[in-house]
Symmetry: C2
Subunit: 77 residues, 2 copies
């Protein structure tokens, strides 16, 4: 019924990459924009991070979208 | 523009309480249902936890809703 948690982690990364490319920023520039460590953000996109609520909120804010919008994308890849 | 991260943590807790009450389960029974420590879940509802993606997914699965639905509620309290 719902993706298992590892899958949702990977899909979260894919959705982040999608929105980052929409605003034409490199991982490095986007991480800088939201005050997140570049390698940490890269691992989020690689689906390797069990991202926290606060970091997810920071990422969504950086894309200027709501968290519900970001998760809608995660669920509709 | 967007709630600060502490506020989104508190709103996340309020939204969880809302959906839990919709399914008429106590915190204890709901935590048992999703295999989460009762005191941990209680602290999520109290807005004291920077919940991880995987735990948020477990909670949403327990309510049988999507994460985007849960965050829609968070954003429209």
């Amino acid at each position: 019924m719902y993706p298992n948690t590892q899958e949702s982690q990977e899909n979260f990364g894919i959705a982040c990459k999608y929105f980052r490319e929409q605003i034409n920023l490199s991982q490095e520039k986007f991480a800088l924009k939201i005050g997140m460590d570049r390698t940490y953000y890269a691992s989020v996109e690689a689906g390797k991070r069990n991202t926290s609520l606060q970091n997810s909120q920071k990422i969504a804010d950086g894309f200027e979208i709501s968290l519900s919008r970001l998760f809608e994308k995660v669920e509709n890849l």
